[in-house]
Each structure stands twice: as structure tokens, then as C-alpha cells.
Amino acid sequence: MKPTQFDYVRPDSLDEALSALAETDDAKVLAGGQSLVPALNMRLLRPSTLVDINRVPELDNVTRGSTSSLVVGARVRQSDPRLNAHLVLAAVLPHVGHTVTRNRGTVCGSIAHADTAAELPLALLACDGTAVVASARGRREISAEELFLGPYTTALARDELLVESVWPELREGDGFAFEEFAQRGGDYALCMVAARVRGTELRVVVGAVAPVPTVLTVDADSPGESAVAQVEPWGSVHGSPEYFRQLVRVLVDRTVVRAKEQAA
């Protein structure tokens, strides 16, 4: 289990990083590496170049956004205590991997990796968050709703780097709950659900049971049942499609109840 050969570039500035990405067709960005390097070791990925952004100074910021939001730079680790200021991140991060992998894994890296069974993409969508991406061509924002296109696939162009994720704060009176079902502590979820109650609005997002984290329109009176009709999970070694539907039913009900309690 050893990676194929690749070139290694370690830029010291964002501009250098973006030029490196512009110069190669099949470069991969190396941030925390907690998903990328296993895939390299298994030779599932064979990039020609790795662009290691861990020394880019601009990317280590955690700042307050212009609106009420937390802006998290691309190098910020999942264990970074500055993230606990954000209630959604504080709720979700303990479920992301393990203590040791959070020391290295980054928030933005997990989002850019776009594994539907990972917590952070779902959380960004639950918050109605945004990804800020940059390339040598310029900078743009992509809403979470438009970011995730498929398993491990995002709307980022090949030369773009996810430089920041923007996490809107919960508002006074909002209720939020997150639940995941995994077979062991720290495993990828078999199913996970985040629910946000804001006034009469109910925002429910499911992950791991659809190709991308997905916003569902749920009936407030029978949230779980209405959610099930909107997912078409595939079976796996861990359960049948019916089982995954059941998890959606149960977790949506549980999160909605909890989110409503919080809002009350």
C-alpha cells in the first residue's frame, strides 16, 4: 500500500499555490490528508502533483464574516478550538473521525473531498453556508447547495482551491440538532441528519444515504415519513436500502424533535 509517484509542491503563498494548480491538469490539493492519503496509499488516486497548502499563511484564519458568520480558512484543523464558537461546528465536529485524525484533518478539506458520509459537507449545507474558491483566474463563492455535485465531486474547477468555508451562525431562537448513526464511534455515518428550526421554517439535511448531502422538504407533522419518500439509498455491506430508509425515518424524527425543543 504505497502511493504512485508524484511531484510535490509546497507553496509559501496563496498565489504560488494557485499557480501550481493552474500549471497541472491533475494536481490534488494536500491539506490534512486524512482522506487523500489513504486514497493515495491504496492507489485509488494517482495525481501527477500534490500541492501542499499547509504552509500557506493566508489560509490559517478563523474570522468573523461580514454577515453573522464564521469564516474558516483552508488550513484550519478540525481540532482547532476557535471552531467551538460556532454552535453547529461544535455539535458536529466531535463526530468527525477521531481525536487524532481531527488534529490533522481540515474543515475545508473535508468539504472539498465531498464524501456524502462525512459530517462537515452536510453541516455546511445545514447552515446554508458557502465555499469561497480561488484560482489564478479569480475568486468566487459557491453556495453549499450548489457545491456538491456527486460522490467526491464538487463544483470546483480543476484549478480552483477551496480557500474558505463560510458558516452562518444560528440566530437567536433557532433550534439545531444533529444525529448520526454509525456502527462504531468515529466511523463514517451510515446515515446522518441535521435539522434547523427557524421560526416556522424547518430545514432538514440528510447525508450518507444519497450521493450528496441533500436538503429535504419535510412535513412538520410526520417529518421522518415524509423524508423517506425523498431518498433512494443504495444498499451496502452494512444494510439494505430499506434499512437505510429506516435510519432516515428515525434520525429525521429524532433531530426534528430535538431541534424543536431547542427552539422552544
Partner: protein
């Protein structure tokens, strides 16, 4: 540990381990930490991506062009340079160290690339030009049993099962399935192989664990006399639990690579290779017929077992089916027992030793049957068992299939477990919880834990007239040498992988030589050229505390007698060990007349109660028999199928405990593996024979939050047959836990068709039916 009274022996005390400090400092020496021979090149193995396929073409030439590549060994080379592995029964298809022309499981080696380093070797693997023609795989043992894939079919009869079933008030007829799973040691296999053309011999270092019968198997495949396969094990091995026995096949494969390419070859298995192609438990489907009186007396037991051993019968298979042969009746007095054993090949990884080895499969069937019978008779499962348990006064007890149970008080152990678990209260609570709609259940298992396997039991797989020379091997060896300055060095062939053999042997030797355990250096590296080993040596069937310790005690006693005689001859009763040793080394003239010079003893010890199988197919399959009584309380989440173990109680009687601290560690470790098999672990293949659990992301081994906190108690009924009265205890809970948890889940769900592993997805499928 600190001071002790002068008269108090070291054995029996919870001495802290002598092994620990090196391991804690990172100074352990595992196989990949060694550079035992200069200029070893690194191997990577090309493996079949198909469960069953013809190899139409295999051309290594493109790989040879890659800079850094030394060469390639192909399946064709393997067939030319070696012989098929011998096994306990004839295999329908010859088993070589690599596939040639036909591959039979995903992960089967088809070639070995040797290169400058592992990175380049893996690069070169991708360049080997192979063309496969996929064939239909055989994956369902139940289907395969009626084809040529059935490699063995033997039936055994003890007593009169038919008449007993005919007079039974209740006959339970059920089928039970044990999944394939593996203990997955955290360290994978490793081999360094160095062929000498001049000597026509292979020297190999491998984290092998025995049984050393497999040394003969490897030498046979290489076409070498045993003396020409010098096998060495490193001082440390990162867990095994049976699994590393099968590294022998890679000793042969890498030996052939070294021979063909003329360089020493190092191969360190990676985790993906390990999960696909190292070893695992057998799978077993057992049909049980069990007859009971209305009062709950078990009158007769009949098993019909279909054993899935994977793609080849790889030695020591089909031993999983026979290891428990003497204990087919478990802990019960039933006299009428029959078994039909069929061994079936499927296009999956070959099976082999795995903690519990046959016990989990047997007891899932037997202990589920006992609980089912109790429920159908309206009896408490504990009462039904108590009625049938072998009584304390009956020991030593000969089972109908030939085992000699040495000692025990099964009823008291069960009572201890019930008391500790507050069984009656828990049963009442579970019933009350169920009345409220919760799914809470209580289960139990009573298992006899055999230890010290009789290597002869495997010959039962052949009819009596085909068994060849009688076999009953189980002996272990030990050498103790005292240096001129009085330093004590023990050399054991028990090949530990973490069980603390150094510590226990030091305790045993210290008692006999009147020194401190810290004065005793114990070497656990085995070198088949120099170590005191036998065909049965190694670390399996929980044999250390019986025969491993037996050999150390015998050597120490003989050394002690010699020292005593010298002391007497010198006329100085208080002469120090150092003085005695100096005298022996420097001045043999001073020894008693006729005494052999030297202060070293090699002793061998074999259990005194093991014979080859007899003409009636009875066999004392093990030298000692402990007992385990467990109670499990579980709750099933109706919504998700998730199982929570609310309480787990296990009471053991493994005879005398040599070191209670280490005994506790073995019980906890065995229990963790049992919980893994009960709740998480299973090798899953799809309908094409692709392995779906090929990484640690999908093969789920339990981690700290996933295990219950067991409550453990002991009784000590010393074995009258063994020198220290100690029996094995490393496997009992791996045998008992799946059955106890299955019984608890059946109780919680109110149904009998439950089958481990109880992953939430599988449990929920039961709930929705």
C-alpha cells in the same frame, strides 16, 4: 512487584510483566524491525482480482524493465520449483504457494515482484501483464456440498442417537450459521527469506506462531528435509490469535522468490492483503437434532456440519471441525452423540486457526439449542443446563466421543455467574421491559474450554484404516542454561504474541531455582536449528500454561536437582548459585563422580492423558478442560437494530491461575474477540466472490467505546494431570460470547432465527419481518 514472603511461591502471584518495558520504550523487535540478513530486496504480491478465473496469460516482462526491479516469480515458477502443500485430507485441487493457470479466490497470489523497495515493487506489480478469463465461482457451501467441492464426509456415532431421539419428549431441530471472521492482529504477516544455493537450504524469519507441524508442511512444499528449512521467529509478534499460523504459505512463496532471483527477499504484508488473503475462521452451517425429556434431560445430540474452509484445504484444516471432537457434548452428561462432518471448498480465502478454533462454531449450535429447548419445555435456561451439567463428583469424566475432562465444578461456576449477574432479577426486569415495548433480553452460555490440543485428533478426518502412523503429539520443549557467573537463560519454543510467556516462565523457574523472576532471562525467539521444539510446539490451543510451563518446570526441576547434588558434594549447603555455576564451568573435576559436566538442561513435556484416536473414533482431543459460564443482558433498539450489551458476566475455571493479572488480560481479550464476532465482524463476499470487507473501513473490529465492561470471576479446580494444575484460558470467552449474546438477542426479540454477527442492519431486518 515488591517483596514476598520467602515461602510464598512466585507462581500464582499477579507479577507485572517482564516484557513491558521494551515494548513501552519502542524497543520491541517485531519482524519488520529486523534486518537479519544484508541486502534483502522487497517483495510485493500480485493477487487475483477474480474469485475464480483461468489465467490466460501472465507475462512479467514489462515489469522487468522498470528500474529497481530485481525479478518476478510467477505461479508457473512456483509449480516448477515446489510441491503442493500437504494437508489433513486430500484436496480436490492441489494447493501451491501461488496460483498457476487457475485462481480460486480474490487475493490469491499469482506472482511476486521483487524490487529495490516496496514502492517500486508495487509500481512493477501494475506492469505485469495478466489476462484472466473469469469462471463461475462457488460461494455457497450449502450448494457446494453436493458437488466435487465436498472434500470430506465423515460420520461419527457414540451411543444410540436414533433410539434416544425416538423416546424424547421434545426434539429440537434447528440450523445455526457461524460466519467467517478473523481476529486481525494489528501487525500483519512478515517474512524475510534467504535461499542458499550452496546448502540447498532456506533460512526464513517470519512472525510464525506454530503449530510447528506447519514447518513440516512448508518444508514438504519446498521439497526439503526439515533440517534445510531453518525457520526463525522474532522476539516480538504483534498479536496473532491463530491467524499467523498461515504465514507458513508465504514462507514458501518468498523462499521460492529468493531461490529463483538469488537475493534475500523481504515481504511485509499490508492490511488489504491481510484482509483478503491471510486467514480466517471457517464458516459453519450446523443442523442440530437434540432430544430432551419433558423434565429437561438431554438424551441425544446429532450434528450435521457443513464446514466452509475456503478455496483450499490448507493445513491444519480441516482441524477446526475436529479440535472440539472430544467435547461434542459440551458441558453436558448426554451419552448419545452423533456428528456428520462435511468439508466444503468455496472460492474464498482459505480458513485456518482463529481464536476459539471450532469452539465458537460448536457452542453457537449447542448453546442456542439448550436455550431453545428450555423455552419450548417451559423451563428456565439455567435450570435446564444445571440438570444436564457434568457433576463435580464425576471428574475425571470421559465424554462419549473420548475426551477426558480433568476437573471442574460446573454447577458452582454457573451458580456464581447467576449470582454475580443477579440473574433472576435481570430476567424479571427484561420481562417487564418487554411488556413496556422495549427489547431487552438475557442470555447465557456454558462452555467447556479445551486446551493443549492432541495433534492426533486431525487424523479423525480420515477413516481409521487410512490414518497412517498413530499420532498424539502435544509435547513442548525448554532449555535452561546457567552461565559461569550464575546468569539464568531460558529458551522456550512457545512463540508468544503478547500472552506474557516470559513473565510466567520466569515465575516458574524462579520458584524452582530459588531466585527472583527478574534474574531469569527468557528468550522467546525460536530457531528451528537450535531451539528445543517439537512438531507440536507453538502458541495455539491455549497450550502454554499446560505444556509450555510443564517443559519449563521440568527443565528447572532437573537443574535444581543437579545444583542440590553439587551443593551437597561441595559440602557447602549455603553455596550461592554463582559459586555453583562457577564451579561447574571452571572446575568439572569438583563435580560429584559420574555427573555430566555443564549446567544446562533441555527438557520436554507432554500431557500424560493424550492417545491417538481409537478404532471407535474416540479421541482425547485436548489435555485439559476449563469451564466458562456467561450471562449476557442486551437491549435492542427497535428503531435502528442497534444492540447494546447492558451487562456481561463471565465466570471461569481454568484450574490454577499462574498469574491472575495475565489471566484477567486473557479473559478480557478473548471476550473482546467474542464480542467482535457477535456484534461486528464478518468477511462478506458478493455474488461474484469479491470481498466487500477488504479494508478496516468496512471490516469492523471493535474499538474502546464498542465493548461492554465485563464482570469477571474465577474458580480454581486444578487439573490433576498437569504439573502446575493450570489449564488454558485464552479462548473460552471467544467461544462463549457469540452464543451467550445470541441467546440474549433471541430472548429480547422473542424469536429463534437469530444469527451473528448482530450488526444493526442485520438485526433490523429481523425486526421488520
Amino acid at each position: 512487584m515488591g517483596a514476598k514472603a520467602a515461602s510464598e511461591p512466585w507462581v500464582g502471584r499477579p507479577l507485572l510483566r517482564l516484557e513491558d518495558e521494551a515494548l513501552l520504550r519502542g524497543e520491541g523487535r517485531f519482524v519488520d524491525d529486523l534486518d537479519p540478513v544484508a541486502n534483502a530486496r522487497h517483495a510485493a504480491v500480485l493477487r487475483s482480482p477474480f474469485a475464480h478465473a483461468n489465467i490466460r496469460r501472465l507475462d512479467p516482462t514489462p515489469a522487468l524493465d522498470l528500474p529497481g526491479v530485481v525479478g518476478v516469480l510467477t505461479g508457473a515458477d512456483v509449480v516448477e520449483l515446489s510441491r503442493p502443500f500437504p494437508a489433513g485430507i486430500d484436496s480436490p485441487t492441489p494447493h501451491y504457494a501461488a496460483a498457476h493457470e487457475v485462481t480460486r479466490y480474490v487475493g490469491e497470489p499469482v506472482a511476486v515482484v521483487v524490487a529495490r523497495d516496496r514502492y517500486v515493487a508495487e509500481d512493477a506489480l501494475e506492469l505485469v501483464d495478466v489476462q484472466y478469463e473469469p469462471l463461475e465461482p462457488v460461494l455457497d457451501a450449502e450448494v457446494a456440498v453436493s458437488s466435487e467441492a465436498c472434500a470430506s464426509d465423515r460420520s461419527f456415532h457414540y451411543g444410540d442417537v436414533d433410539s434416544a431421539l425416538a423416546r424424547a419428549d421434545l426434539v429440537v431441530r434447528e440450523r445455526f450459521r457461524s460466519a467467517r471472521w478473523s481476529c486481525t492482529p494489528v501487525e500483519c504477516y512478515g517474512v524475510v527469506a534467504d535461499w542458499s544455493e550452496a546448502e540447498r537450504s532456506l533460512t526464513a524469519w517470519a512472525n510464525f506462531q506454530g503449530p510447528f507441524t506447519l514447518h513440516s508442511v512448508a518444508a514438504g512444499a519446498l521439497g526439503l528435509p526439515g533440517s534445510k528449512l531453518r525457520l526463525l521467529t522474532p522476539p516480538d509478534s504483534g498479536g496473532s490469535f491463530g491467524i499467523k499460523s498461515a504465514v507458513f504459505a508465504y514462507v514458501v512463496l518468498m523462499g521460492l522468490a529468493s531461490r529463483k532471483l538469488g537475493v534475500p527477499v523481504r515481504w511485509i504484508e499490508d492490511r488489504l492483503e491481510h484482509l483478503a488473503a491471510s486467514s480466517s475462521s471457517s464458516g459453519r452451517l450446523t443442523h442440530v437434532e437434540a432430544g430432551f425429556t419433558s423434565a429437561g434431560e438431554l438424551l441425544a445430540l446429532r450434528y450435521d456440519a457443513i464446514e466452509d474452509v475456503g478455496a483450499y484445504v490448507r493445513a491444519p484444516e480441516p482441524a477446526t471441525l475436529y479440535r472440539m471432537h472430544g467435547s461434542l457434548a459440551g458441558a453436558y452428561r448426554v451419552q448419545n452423540v452423533a456428528a456428520r462432518n462435511r468439508v466444503v471448498l468455496t472460492n474464498t480465502m482459505p480458513s485456518g486457526l482463529n481464536r476459539g478454533f471450532g469452539g465458537p462454531q460448536l457452542y453457537l449450535a449447542l448453546e442456542r439449542t439448550m436455550t431453545i429447548a428450555a423455552n419450548r419445555l417451559g423451563l428456565d435456561p439455567a435450570d435446564l443446563r444445571r440438570r444436564n451439567l457434568i457433576r463435580a463428583a464425576d471428574f475425571p469424566y470421559r465424554t462419549p466421543s473420548g475426551a477426558l475432562y480433568d476437573s471442574g465444578d460446573y454447577g458452582s461456576c454457573l451458580d456464581d455467574a447467576l449470582t454475580l449477574a443477579q440473574y433472576d432479577e435481570r430476567r424479571a426486569e427484561a420481562e417487564a421491559a418487554r411488556a413496556e415495548g422495549r427489547l431487552v433480553g438475557v442470555g447465557m452460555a456454558c462452555v467447556v474450554e479445551p486446551s493443549i490440543s492432541n495433534m492426533g485428533y486431525i487424523t479423525l478426518a480420515e477413516p481409521g484404516e487410512e490414518r497412517g502412523l498413530p499420532k498424539s503429539g502435544n509435547a513442548e520443549g525448554c532449555t535452561i542454561a546457567i552461565s559461569a557467573l550464575g546468569g539464568i537463560t531460558v529458551h522456550t519454543a512457545t512463540t508468544p504474541q503478547g500472552q506474557g510467556h516470559r513473565t510466567v516462565i520466569a515465575q516458574v523457574v524462579a520458584d524452582r531455582l530459588a531466585v527472583e523472576p527478574s534474574d531469569v532471562d527468557v528468550l522467546t525467539e525460536v530457531d528451528t536449528a537450535t531451539s528445543p521444539w517439537t512438531i507440536a510446539s507453538g502458541n495455539y490451543s491455549s497450550r502454554f500454561s499446560g505444556v509450555g510451563v510443564g517443559a519449563a518446570a521440568a527443565a528447572a526441576e532437573r537443574l535444581s536437582e543437579k545444583i542440590t547434588a553439587i551443593r551437597a558434594h561441595l559440602g557447602d549447603g549455603s553455596a550461592s548459585l554463582r559459586r555453583i555455576a562457577g564451579t561447574v564451568h571452571w572446575n568439572p573435576e569438583a563435580l560429584p563422580p559420574g555427573m555430566e559436566p555443564g549446567l544446562a538442561v533441555t527438557a520436554y513435556y507432554a500431557a500424560p492423558n493424550l492417545l491417538p484416536p481409537d478404532a471407535d473414533d474416540k479421541v482425547a482431543s485436548s489435555g485439559a478442560h476449563g469451564f466458562v459460564a456467561d450471562v449476557a443482558v442486551v437491549e435492542v433498539d427497535r428503531d435502528t437494530g442497534e444492540v447494546t450489551v447492558l451487562d456481561y458476566v463471565t465466570v471461569h475455571d481454568a484450574g490454577r491461575l499462574l498469574n491472575p493479572l495475565l489471566a484477567e488480560g486473557q479473559v478480557r481479550g478473548g471476550l473482546a474477540h467474542g464480542v467482535g464476532a457477535a456484534l461486528f465482524e464478518r468477511h462478506v463476499y458478493d455474488e461474484d466472490g469479491n470481498l466487500l470487507t477488504g479494508s478496516f473501513m468496512d471490516y469492523l473490529a471493535p474499538t474502546a467505546p464498542d465493548l461492554p465492561e465485563p464482570r469477571i470471576a474465577h474458580r480454581e479446580s486444578p487439573s490433576p494431570f498437569l504439573p502446575l494444575g493450570a489449564k488454558g484460558l485464552g479462548e473460552g470467552t471467544t467461544m462463549s460470547v457469540p452464543a451467550a449474546i445470541a441467546n440474549a438477542i433471541a430472548d429480547a426479540l422473542g424469536r429463534d432465527d437469530v444469527e451473528p454477527p448482530f450488526t444493526p442492519g442485520r438485526v433490523w431486518e429481523l425486526l421488520r419481518q
